[in-house]
Structure formats: structure tokens, C-alpha cells
Subunit: 467 residues, 2 copies
Amino acid sequence: MSPSSPGPTLIPIASPSLEVLKQRRQRLSDVFTDPVLLWSGNASARNFPANVYPFRANSHFLYFVGYPLQNAVVYLEGGRLTLYMDNPSAASALWHGPEPEREAIAHHIGASAAFPLADLPLRAQDAATVLAQDGPTQQHQGSVLGRSVVAAPQAEGLDRELAIAISQIRLCHDAAGLEEMRHAAAVTVKAHQAGMRATPTASHESDVRAAMERVILAQNMTTAYSSIVTVQGEVLHNNHYHHRLSPGDLLLADVGAETASGWAADITRTWPVSGTFSPSQRSLYAIVLAAHDACIAEIKPGVEYREIHLLAAQIMAEGLVDLGILRGNPMDLVEQDAHALFFPHGVGHLLGLDVHDMEDLGDMAGYAPGRQRSDRFGLSYLRLDRPLQPNMVVTIEPGFYQVPGILQNPDWRSRYQTLVNWDRLAEFADVRGIRIEDDVRVTETGHEVLTAALPTAIADIEALMNG
Amino acid sequence: MSPSSPGPTLIPIASPSLEVLKQRRQRLSDVFTDPVLLWSGNASARNFPANVYPFRANSHFLYFVGYPLQNAVVYLEGGRLTLYMDNPSAASALWHGPEPEREAIAHHIGASAAFPLADLPLRAQDAATVLAQDGPTQQHQGSVLGRSVVAAPQAEGLDRELAIAISQIRLCHDAAGLEEMRHAAAVTVKAHQAGMRATPTASHESDVRAAMERVILAQNMTTAYSSIVTVQGEVLHNNHYHHRLSPGDLLLADVGAETASGWAADITRTWPVSGTFSPSQRSLYAIVLAAHDACIAEIKPGVEYREIHLLAAQIMAEGLVDLGILRGNPMDLVEQDAHALFFPHGVGHLLGLDVHDMEDLGDMAGYAPGRQRSDRFGLSYLRLDRPLQPNMVVTIEPGFYQVPGILQNPDWRSRYQTLVNWDRLAEFADVRGIRIEDDVRVTETGHEVLTAALPTAIADIEALMNG
């Protein structure tokens, strides 16, 4: 590099404009007037200190700073941002190449000033913060602030007020955030298409997972969460990929990309290993798809998300009665949570920088003030209970599962003994789990399905696999 | 599941037999008679607590237990192992499927007894341990042992003696460990072949990385470390993949698979984006390959690894003199560390359960007792300084790089001003970085290259890319 060179710059990624970032910072100062410190966090050691997991910056930091800086802290007050970060060491240039100096980074992110980390305690007094994810950063937070910092759901005082303020700001996305989510959605659609096409010649779940994640890696993105690609769809958080594929299996794939600046997509599809749904698979898939479509059709501002969930339950119950698996009046069945034997989770959640957006804040973001989780079997796992607002993005993901831990549970079995036709259910043994999940933006008057490019209809999926 | 079912079992992975595990435990008790506690560790949060990085168990735990249990502790004494681990919760079955009980796991890993974690403090007094990687587990270690546990390089007393004992045991691999490493090597070879084949139609580094990691994921393995796939090979730890490929570029790929039970491979190849090396690339590649081949040829028991490193330096210096890039007598140039301008790192390191095996113990494993790092520019990054022993596995990875941070550094530039023909060097501007790395087992009389199936010769690589 010549002496007149302007110096190294940050790795280019798609990130919000300075104007957008300044708007976000201003919105924060409009609702929270005390000073705020946000830590980006540090890479976590994998098996020895120098071998780390790929670094993922804290989501609140990413929202207001726009760039995944490592081991950086920002001080926000009155819409102005000050960066605290150390310059790269001389030795670092050998191992990591030329890296930008603090001043160059400050310029890039629109900071009004920049100082080394050692100066941070001078400014830290009385600042509010949100707990970081990794241990060393949590320790740094405690030592800089001179007090213990706890997870947001347990926080009190200013930290609690800050968490509430941030949850309000991040609840509805600006155009820059939505653009990132559209990008994540587009790549995720391609990953699912690749997974469907790879299945007929795949031998194991891992082959399909690899074909899907290849698409995401090729776009220089990462997965937003550990992929689920399994013939045991009834295991809801299944991160194993060792099963051999059999022609009669359904494969459930819940895989989403995350952009370089941290925005997530979250799509689930379920397809037959053979390329053709069996009659029993077809019947149950049609019920889940009906619930999926009906829920999306209802999405618009003002609608209670809890009602969307109950609509999914209602349609599932109706379908299962029509198929002869449940007995009785669908509305009564839902009131008794009989649908939850087969659909035990919530119909979806907020989506944004986190796949369960702002879940580090507990239910502050997901639940409207004054509301809390139900203890009803059919509602306790609902992650979102708010009226919908324009530019919220939610997932819609009804499912049907035969979970042994539920269906073989003696208590539930006796409670629902007469409401389930167990002999009829046995005819659907080749359906372990079906889920259909899309990402839906609430518009001013209705909704927009960000992931609509990926088919859900049986005929379209079969055509994609066999075409 | 029927009531008479034996209950869920662990996910099947290739892992050592109980006989092998008992031998390893017995060897430990032969050299370290005090009781030992080893923690497996916990998954680390990514952006919120429930969204974690893929769990990787502690390597010392894996060596003696053979299975990547999460949040487990083992007590080792006199060759006997006691498992401390909690049973899965009832709710866990819904989200994670049926999981084995503690007793079933104890049987699987050959434990003589098993207790819940709450019983651990009763047995913990006076036990030695090794610091875990993740924060919550480190806190658990401190609270269970009632004392602070520090990283092995800083440890004193029993913890230090334990680290030395483990480093001796893990230094030379048993047949079961070698079998795992052969498996990792075979998959890594296939990943590199896929990378070479994908390059001619790839547009960015990320496309090649994705093609390589797909092979590893499809085998249900993970990467042993963050892949390096870059046209900026002079950045030694380059984990970015955003550059567009140009026909004149060399692509350096340092990618290795890790088996399910934790054993690593570590291969680097450098190939031309176009499929054909340029004359300047060919000349420098030939020098690195000559060093690579000469070093491997020397590997046998009793040889000092430091001498292997110096041999690489010597051959690099000779080659660079022949090419007209360095001036002078090669032996003198090495004594002045002039080779290190272009080959600034060590020729390799130990390989095993960690890609830099046992690096969490500092230099305890890599350096023979009484030896320590040199402060010489050409030796300070050498990670291994021991006489070779049968069944050690080491990497051999000489390289040539044009690192601006070194070559533009005014101090070094003046120190080596007359020893480098800078005009001649400028003719090799299309070589930013070349490294050729293989994994080599020391045999009773010589060596075995575990990664020999992947070609190193220019003609073979060009044939693979264009075939």
C-alpha cells in the first residue's frame, strides 16, 4: 500500500445507509432519553481459544450500527453515536490482512466521535444497556458499568425501560430492514428449491441439508439458525441429519438464510422423498396447507395474532374431523385443546434480525403490555400475542405431528381418549410431521408474503422435484 | 414406543469401542493418580439464548468419553469413570424427541456409575480439571470445585500436572483415533476435489467454499475450523469469501472436515482460477512443493520437528535464490530469517481432536519440556518443537506469501534491502499466497501421508480442474 493510500476499509456488505441508521438512532432517543451503551460482542471459542465459531454481532447493536463490528461498543445519546473500539494490533495485519483504523470505521458508521475501549468507563456511568450473549462481553459490561447486568426479562430500572423502548422500535421494520429480509427470503427460496431437487438422488438427510446450505454459503450468507432437515418431522427441534431416506418418508426442511448484516428468513416445507405424496400424506398436507392459507389471508393491521393462531387451530380441527381422526364439533375440540395433540406449537413468531425476533428480551416484544403466556396446552407455546401493525413481519407455520411424547402420554391419552379415533389415526402412520411456513409482512391494508416464490401446493412441489 | 421398549438410545456416531476408551482412561490413571473431573461444555448462544452455535464438546472430554454429550461431567479415578448428568426433562421430549436417560448413556460410555449433576460437589473436592471453553461451564467448574479454574498455560498445582499428563497421552494417537483422522482426511480430500472442479464456473470465493463445505455437510461432518478460501492467500487467517474470482488469480483453500466424534483433518491446496498456472505461479508453486515434499520425506521417529521447519526454510531460500528473488547463500539467508519475509509461519503443528491439537494447553503439547518459543522472526510462530514419535500426526504446510504488512514494513525493508531483488520480485505479482498442506502420521520407521489421495503436482491439479 502506498503512503498516500486512504487506508484499509471495511469488508463491503449490504448495510443500511447512514440516513437510515441516523433515523433509527433518532427514534431511540425520541423514546428513551438516557444514554445507552450497546456491545457488539465477541467470537466464542469452539474447542480452543483461537478456533472460534463464526462471529455474529448482537442484534440490537446491528440494528443501530448496521455493521457486524467485533468487540466494539457504541454510546448513543440524543441520536448521536460515539464508537469505542481498539485499533487492530500490528501483528493482526499479518494474520488478518490490513484492517481499518477506528477513525475509518467511525466514519463508515456515522459516529460523531471515536475512542479506545479504555476510555469507556469515563462515559459509562448511568448508561442503560442490554445483556450481550457471550461470557467475556457480559463480564466487560459488568466491569465497565460497575454493576451487574442481567438478561432483559429480569432487568429492572433503566435497563428494563431501554429493552421496552428497543422492542417498540424494532417491532415494525423500515424499508432498509425489509430489503434485507427480502434478500434473505430470496436466497432461502433457492435453497429450498435446491433441497427438493436434490432429494430424489440423496441417500441421507445430510445430503439434502448440504445441498440447501450450499446455496446459502454460495451467496456469502449464513444460516439464521441450525437447519432442520429430517424424516422425523415430529421432533420439532431436530438438528440431526443421520437418517437414511426411504421412499415412503416425508422430509421436513426448516432452513433459513441470514444476510451479512444479520437479517433472517425462516421457511419450512415438507416434501415426499419419492417425489410423490402418498394418499394419507396428501390428505394431511392439504389440511395444514388450508390452515396456512387461511391464516395468511387474514393478516392485516389490527388483527390479533392470537386469533390467527386460533384460526389455524380451528381449521386443523375441522380437517381432522373431516378425515375421521378427531370426533366432535371443531370449535369444542379447539376449546378442549384437542387440536394441540397434533399441533402443539404456536402458529408463528416475529421475524427480523433474529429468527425469533428479540427473543433475548423474553416476551417484551412478542406480547403486548399487560399480556402474558396462557397456561392452556394449546396456547402456552404461542410466541406472539399482539395486534398486527404495518411492517411487522411474522411467520405463519401451522403443522401436523405425531409426537410419541404427546400421543403416548397416559394423561393426555386418557383425557382425549374418546375425541380421537385411534384406529383411523393409525392409517396415517406415514405422516410423522408436516409443517408449512412462510414469512409475511403486514402491509397498510393487508399483507405481503415475502417467501411467496416458493410453492406450497402439492402439484407444484411434485413438479419441482420431478421436473 | 411400546412400554417394553428398551428406551431411546444415543444418536449413532462412529466412536471408539469401550475397550479403547478404557485403555485411554487406564493410561491416564497410570500417569496421574489424583481424581480428575472433565466437563463436556455447553452450546454457546448465537443471537439469543435458544439460538445456539452447533455444540462442540471439549476435546479432552471427547478423548476419554468418546461421545459428544452436552452438559455432562465425568469423574475419572483409577481408570474408572463416573458420569454426572441430568436426565432430559419431560418438555424436552416434545422439542428434541425421545432422549436417552442417564443410565443408558452411562452404559453406552462404559461408566461404572451415574448420578445427577447436583451430586457433583460431593465428589469434587481435590479433583484436578482442565478449563472448559464456554462461560457458563467455566462458572460451573468454579462453583463445583470451590476455587478458580484458569486456562492450562496459567494453571498451577494439580491442574497443571493434569494438563501435562493429558498432553503426554494425547500426543501419540491410538488406532481408533487414527481411524477417525483417516475418515476426516478422506472426506476433506473429496471436498478439495469438489472445490477444484467447481472453480472454473464459480464467480466468487463463496461459490467454491460452498461447493467444498457441501461435501463435508453431506457426510454429516462439520468443518474443523473456519474455512479459508481466498484469492488473497497472503492474508493468513482470511475468513471472508466475498471477492470475485479473476482468471489470473490463484485460489488458496485451507479447509478441513471434523468427524462426529471430533477428529480433524487440515488440508491446504492452491490452484489457479483459470485451471492453468501462469509461468510465475508455476515457478513459485514448484518451490513450495519442493519444500513440502522434502519435509515429508524426512519425517520419521527421532527427527526434531524444528529441523523439518528449518529444512523448509532452507529449500524456500534456495528456490528463491535460484529464481533471483533472494540474493546470497541460502544457509546464510535462513540464518538471517530472510526466508521468513515470504514464509513467516511455522511449517506445521500437531493434529488430532483439535486442528491445532491441544492448543488450549498453550505450548505444553507442542513444545518438549524445557523448550520455549524462539524470539527469532523465522521461528517465533513455530507451534511444534519436539522430536517426532510414532503415531504423532503433524501437518506439513510450507508457503510463499507477499504480505504487504511485512514487505512494506520500513524496518524489515531496510534490514533486508540488499538481500531481496525487489525488481525481480515485482515480476511475481500474480502470486499473493501459495500454501500446500498435508497431514502426516509418523510411523515406526518413517511416515504415512493421510491426505495423499489429493494431488499436489501442477499437472495433476490442472488435469483435475479441466478433466
